[in-house]
C-alpha cells in the first residue's frame, strides 16, 4: 500500500466518525476568526470538517486539497465551544494534520518549512538547547546588538514575520536568576498544597522571569513548589503540526518526571501548554501501558490562575494605576475552560480598573507559530483585535500564554502605541501588585 492509501485508511479510522457527528448547522461559523477574516467556507470549521470527511472518503487529495485549509486553521478551538452537538474539532484537526504529514511522499517532506523543522525537531524538545537560545538572546539584548538590529530594520527586510517577533521578545533574565529543575522551594508560612511546576520550553528559556515570579507567587499563597527534573516541552506544537509520535514521546517523558514528584497538582502558566497537558489522556488513549497514568496526569494539571484563585486572596502591597483589559488565551478558555479565574484575580488588584474588550474570546492569531507561518493572515486578525482593544482605553493588556503575549506586543507595535500600552503576563502584573520583582 502506498503512503497516500495508508493515510486515507488511518484518517478514516481515526476521525471519520467524528466528522460524521457534524450536522452542518453552521453554529460554529460566527465563532471562527479565520472564517471572519478570510470569508470562505474552506476557512470555516464546518468547511474544514467536511474536507477532512471528503479526504477520509478518498474524494480529495491530502496534499493538494486538504493541507492548505487545515494549515490555515489557528487551532484556537473556539468552534468547539460553539458547537451544539459537541463535535470534537481539536481531535479532527490533529488527526488531519497527522494524515497530511504522513501522506507526503518521503522526498517531499521538506515541504515542512525550515522554521518549523528547526524548531520542532531540533529545538523545543531539548531544554538545554532552549536555554542556550535564551542565554544567547539575553546576550544579544544586553550587548546592544539588538538595538543595532532594530534601528537598522535589517530583520524586517529579511522577513517581516521574524522582524516583528524579534521586537516582541520580552527582556530576558540572565541565566543566573533562573531556578534550576530538581529544586524544591518551600512555601512561605503554612504549606497548603504540594505543587509540581511545569516550566515549559519557551517559558523556561525566553520568559524565565515569568517562571520565577510564578514560583514566588505560588509559595506566597502556601504552595511547596517542586520543579521535577527531566521535564521537557509539552509537545503542543508537535501535535499541532501533525508530529504525533514525537508529541507522544515528549508526553511520556513528562508523565514520568511528574508522577515521580508525587505532587497534589501540576501547575503551568502557559495556556497552550496547559491544554496539551490536559489532553495527554487523549494523546495516549490507545497506548495500554500509558493510558491510565496519562489520564491521571491530565486530571492533576491546572493553570496558575486556578491555584492562585483557590488559595487566594494574594497579599497585595501596591496599588495599580490605569485601565487593564484581558485577552483570553484560546487554549485556556476553550480547552481548559478557565475564564473566570484570571478575571477575578485581575479585578482583585487594589486600585485597578478592569475593562472587558469586545471580542475578548477571539483568538489573537498567534496560534502557536501561526504568526510565523501565515504572517499576513495573522496580522489581519490581530489588527481587528487591536481596534477592539483601543476602544477599552486600556494601558495594559494581560494574557496568560507566551505566544499571546508576544502577539499582543506585536499588535501594540503595529499600532505605534508602545508608549501608551504594554502587554503583560497575568503573573507579572500580580507579582508587581504583590511587590515582587
Amino acid at each position: 500500500m502506498n503512503e497516500t492509501n495508508a493515510a486515507v485508511q488511518n484518517l478514516y479510522s481515526d476521525a471519520y466518525d467524528w466528522t460524521n457527528q457534524c450536522v452542518k448547522c453552521g453554529y460554529c461559523l460566527p465563532a471562527c476568526p479565520t472564517y471572519e477574516s478570510m470569508g470562505v467556507e474552506s476557512a470555516s470549521p464546518r468547511g474544514r470538517i467536511n474536507l477532512v470527511k471528503m479526504a477520509a472518503e478518498g474524494k480529495i487529495d491530502f496534499q493538494k486539497d486538504l493541507s492548505e485549509p487545515i494549515d490555515l486553521c489557528l487551532g484556537c478551538r473556539a468552534c468547539e465551544t460553539a458547537c451544539p452537538v459537541g463535535v470534537p474539532y481539536g481531535h479532527i484537526l490533529e488527526a488531519a494534520k497527522e494524515a497530511i504529514e504522513n501522506s507526503a511522499p518521503t522526498n517531499q517532506k521538506t515541504k515542512m518549512t525550515k522554521i518549523k523543522k528547526l524548531a520542532l525537531v531540533h529545538l523545543f524538545p531539548y531544554p538545554k538547547r532552549m536555554n542556550r537560545i535564551g542565554s544567547a538572546v539575553f546576550l544579544y539584548q544586553k550587548t546592544g546588538l539588538s538595538k543595532l538590529i532594530r534601528t537598522s530594520n535589517v530583520l524586517h527586510k529579511v522577513s517581516p514575520a521574524l522582524g516583528h517577533l524579534e521586537q516582541a521578545l520580552p527582556a530576558i533574565e540572565s541565566s543566573s536568576k533562573r531556578i534550576r529543575t530538581g529544586t524544591i522551594i518551600p512555601a512561605k508560612g503554612e504549606t497548603k498544597l504540594r505543587v509540581a511546576f511545569f516550566a515549559g520550553c519557551i517559558m523556561d528559556s525566553m520568559m524565565s522571569r515569568i517562571n520565577r515570579l510564578t514560583i514566588e507567587l505560588l509559595t506566597l499563597v502556601g504552595c511547596e513548589v517542586i520543579l521535577p527534573e527531566n521535564q521537557n516541552c509539552c509537545g503542543a506544537l508537535h501535535s499541532h503540526q501533525g508530529e504525533t509520535i514525537q508529541a507522544q514521546a515528549l508526553a511520556k517523558r513528562n508523565i514520568l518526571a511528574f508522577m515521580e514528584a508525587d505532587a497534589d497538582v501540576i501547575v503551568n502558566n502557559a495556556g497552550g501548554c496547559g491544554a496539551s497537558l490536559l489532553e495527554y489522556g487523549h494523546l495516549l488513549a490507545d497506548d495500554h501501558e500509558w493510558a491510565g497514568t496519562a489520564r491521571e496526569f491530565s486530571k492533576k494539571s491546572k493553570d496558575i490562575s486556578q491555584i492562585l484563585y483557590q488559595l487566594g486572596p494574594l497579599p497585595y502591597t501596591e496599588e495599580w494605576q490605569g485601565i487593564v483589559s484581558y485577552q483570553d488565551s484560546c487554549h485556556l478558555r476553550n480547552v481548559q475552560k478557565v475564564q473566570k479565574e484570571p478575571r477575578l484575580l485581575l479585578q482583585s488588584i487594589p486600585g485597578i480598573s478592569y475593562v472587558e474588550m469586545e471580542g475578548f474570546d477571539r483568538c489573537c492569531a498567534s496560534g502557536g507559530i501561526y504568526n510565523l507561518l501565515h504572517f499576513d493572515e495573522s496580522m489581519k486578525i490581530l489588527d481587528e483585535k487591536m481596534k477592539n482593544l483601543k476602544e477599552t482605553k486600556a494601558t495594559t493588556v494581560v494574557t496568560v500564554n507566551p505566544g499571546c503575549q508576544m502577539q499582543m506586543s506585536i499588535g501594540i507595535q503595529r499600532e505605534g502605541a508602545t508608549n501608551q500600552m504594554k502587554s503583560m503576563h497575568l503573573v507579572e502584573i500580580l507579582a508587581k501588585a504583590c511587590g515582587l520583582d
Binding site: 452542518k24 448547522c25 453552521g26 453554529y27 470562505v40 480529495i60 486539497d65 451544539p84
Partner: protein, 468 residues
C-alpha cells in the same frame, strides 16, 4: 463547464473571488440538510452589477446558478443539484442602515440576521422574525425561505416585514420591487412573490424591511401536562381567550427524555408534554394576561405551572427548549427534521397521527415546535448508514406530509420545499396549482438558470429519496 464560459466569467469576477479548486468547491456542496452536489465553480460576487453580468453570462452559456447564504437551509435550498455555479452571497454585507423615522432597515442580503436584531434594538426598535439559526443565517436566506421562529404566532413570518427589494432577475436585469412605504398597491406584489421563492425567481441584492416598536416587557411560564391531549386543549383555549402570546412552544415526552439524558435539568420524565408560553407587551397588561394563561393551563389539567419571576428563571425555562436540538442529535447521527404545519385547532389530532406513525414504523420520532401557530417539528433520529431503517424513514416522512395535508395543513411552515419536499407539491396544491407556479417560473426564467431542481419535482418523482 466550457472553457469559454469560464473565460467570460473571469472577465467579470477577479480570480480571488472565483474558485475552481476541488477543496473550495466541496465546501459549497452542502447545506444543513441532505445531499452533496459538487458545483463546477464558486463565485463570491460583491454587488448587484457583478451578479447581473454573471447571470447574463449564465444565460448565454446555459449554466445553472445557485444563490447561497450561510447554507443553513434544512430543505436543500442552495444545493447545486445540477452542477453549475454557486453564488456565495455572504460578501454582500456592507449595508445595514436603521432608518428610525420611517421604522425601516435597509440591508444587504449577506448581513447576518442577528445583527439586524441587535442594531434595531439599539434604536429601540424590533425585527420580530427570529429563526433559531439567526446567529448564522443571512437575511437573504431568511427572506428567500420566508423563515420564522417562535414569534411567528404573534408577529408573523419574514414576508410580513419585507416591503421592498432590489433583485437581479433570472435573465440578469436589475429591478426594484415595492419601496419604503408600508402601504403599496401598485401592480402585482412582486415583493411577496419573491420572498419565499427559495432563490428560483431572482437574486436579492438589497432589502427594505419594516421594524416595529420594541415591546416594553415580557413574561414567561412553563406548564407540564401528564396527557398530551390536555396540552393541545390548553393551547386552543389560550388562543381563543383573546390573549395572543408572543411564543407558545411545545415539547413531547421523547424530547423531555432526550434533554434530561443530555443535560439533566429537572424536567418531568413522566409528563407527556411541556408548554412554554411567553407574553410580551405593556407591563401591566402582561401581568394580568400571564396569570390568566396559567389558570387556563391548570383548568385543562396541567400538573405543574411555574411563572418565571426573574430573568434567570426565564432563561432556565427557555434553556430546556433550546437544548432539544443538541439533545436529540446525541440519539443518532442522522436527524430528519420536518416542519409540517397544521391549523392550530388540529394540533391534538396531528400529535395523535404522529404517535401512530412512530408506532407503525418503530422509529425514533420526537416532536417539538411552535405549537401556537401549528408549526410542529417532527424529527426522526436515525443513521443514514442503516439502509433498511432509512427506507422506513422515507415512508414515514411521506405519511407525515399526508397527515398534515389531510388535516388542512401544509408541507412546510418555515424550512421551505427545496429538494426534500418537492415530490409532495401536487399533494398539497393539485396538478393545476403546481402548473400555475411552474408557468410563473418559466416566464421569469426561460432558460431555467436560477436554482433549478428545487420546489418542483422531477418527472415521475413521487416521494422523498433519502438513500439510493
Amino acid at each position: 463547464m466550457e472553457k469559454e464560459a469560464l473565460h467570460d466569467l473571469s472577465q467579470v469576477i477577479p480570480g480571488d473571488r472565483m474558485f475552481l479548486d476541488l477543496a473550495e468547491r466541496y465546501c459549497y456542496s452542502y447545506d444543513a440538510s441532505f445531499g452533496e452536489f459538487l458545483p463546477e465553480v464558486v463565485i463570491q460576487p460583491k454587488n448587484a452589477e457583478e451578479i447581473s453580468e454573471v447571470v447574463k453570462l449564465a444565460n448565454i452559456h446555459k449554466i445553472p446558478v445557485y444563490p447561497r447564504g450561510s447554507g443553513t437551509s434544512l430543505s436543500g435550498g442552495p444545493l447545486p443539484v445540477k452542477g453549475g455555479m454557486v453564488l456565495d452571497m455572504t460578501l454582500l454585507r456592507d449595508k445595514l442602515i436603521i432608518d428610525r423615522e420611517n421604522m425601516l432597515a435597509i440591508v444587504s442580503p449577506g448581513v447576518i440576521t442577528a445583527n439586524i436584531h441587535k442594531k434595531a434594538e439599539e434604536a429601540g426598535l424590533f425585527y420580530p422574525p427570529d429563526p433559531s439559526s439567526s446567529n448564522v443565517a443571512t437575511i437573504g436566506g431568511n427572506l428567500l425561505e420566508n423563515s420564522s421562529g417562535p414569534k411567528g404566532l404573534k408577529y408573523g413570518t419574514t414576508k410580513e416585514y419585507v416591503i421592498g427589494l432590489e433583485v437581479v432577475t433570472p435573465t440578469g436585469e436589475i429591478i426594484r420591487t415595492g419601496g419604503k412605504t408600508v402601504k403599496n398597491v401598485t401592480g402585482y406584489d412582486l415583493t411577496r412573490l419573491i420572498v419565499g421563492s427559495e432563490g428560483t425567481l431572482g437574486i436579492v441584492t438589497e432589502a427594505i424591511i419594516r421594524l416595529i416598536p420594541k415591546p416594553q416587557a415580557k413574561q414567561t411560564f412553563v406548564a407540564h401536562f401528564n396527557h398530551l391531549i390536555d396540552s393541545g386543549h390548553a393551547i386552543t383555549s389560550i388562543l381563543s381567550s383573546g390573549i395572543l402570546p408572543s411564543a407558545l412552544e411545545l415539547m413531547d415526552n421523547a424530547c423531555i427524555r432526550a434533554v434530561e439524558s443530555y443535560r439533566p435539568s429537572g424536567l418531568p420524565l413522566q409528563a407527556e408534554a411541556i408548554l412554554i408560553i411567553e407574553i410580551d407587551g405593556h407591563p401591566l397588561a402582561i401581568e394580568e394576561e400571564i396569570i390568566k394563561c396559567a389558570d387556563l393551563c391548570r383548568a385543562k389539567g396541567a400538573s405543574y405551572v411555574k411563572i418565571a419571576e426573574t430573568e434567570e428563571e426565564r432563561q432556565t425555562i427557555w434553556s430546556a427548549r433550546k437544548l432539544v436540538s443538541p439533545a436529540i442529535t446525541q440519539m443518532g447521527p442522522t436527524k430528519i427534521s420536518e416542519d409540517a404545519t397544521v391549523p392550530r385547532s388540529q394540533i391534538p389530532a396531528m400529535m395523535e397521527r404522529l404517535n401512530r406513525i412512530r408506532e407503525k414504523y418503530g422509529l425514533n420520532l420526537v416532536v417539538f415546535g411552535h405549537a401556537g401557530d401549528g408549526n410542529l417539528h417532527p424529527n426522526i433520529i436515525t443513521d443514514k448508514r442503516n439502509i433498511t431503517e432509512m427506507k422506513k424513514v422515507e415512508l414515514a416522512v411521506s405519511e407525515i406530509f399526508e397527515a398534515a395535508i389531510e388535516l388542512g395543513g401544509t408541507l412546510s411552515g418555515e424550512h421551505g420545499i427545496g429538494t426534500l419536499k418537492s415530490p409532495y407539491m401536487e399533494m398539497e396544491l393539485g396538478i393545476t396549482g403546481v402548473n400555475m407556479m411552474k408557468k410563473i417560473k418559466e416566464a421569469w426564467d426561460p432558460n431555467n438558470i436560477l436554482n433549478p431542481g428545487k420546489i418542483f419535482p422531477d418527472k415521475g418523482q413521487t416521494r422523498v429519496v433519502l438513500v439510493t
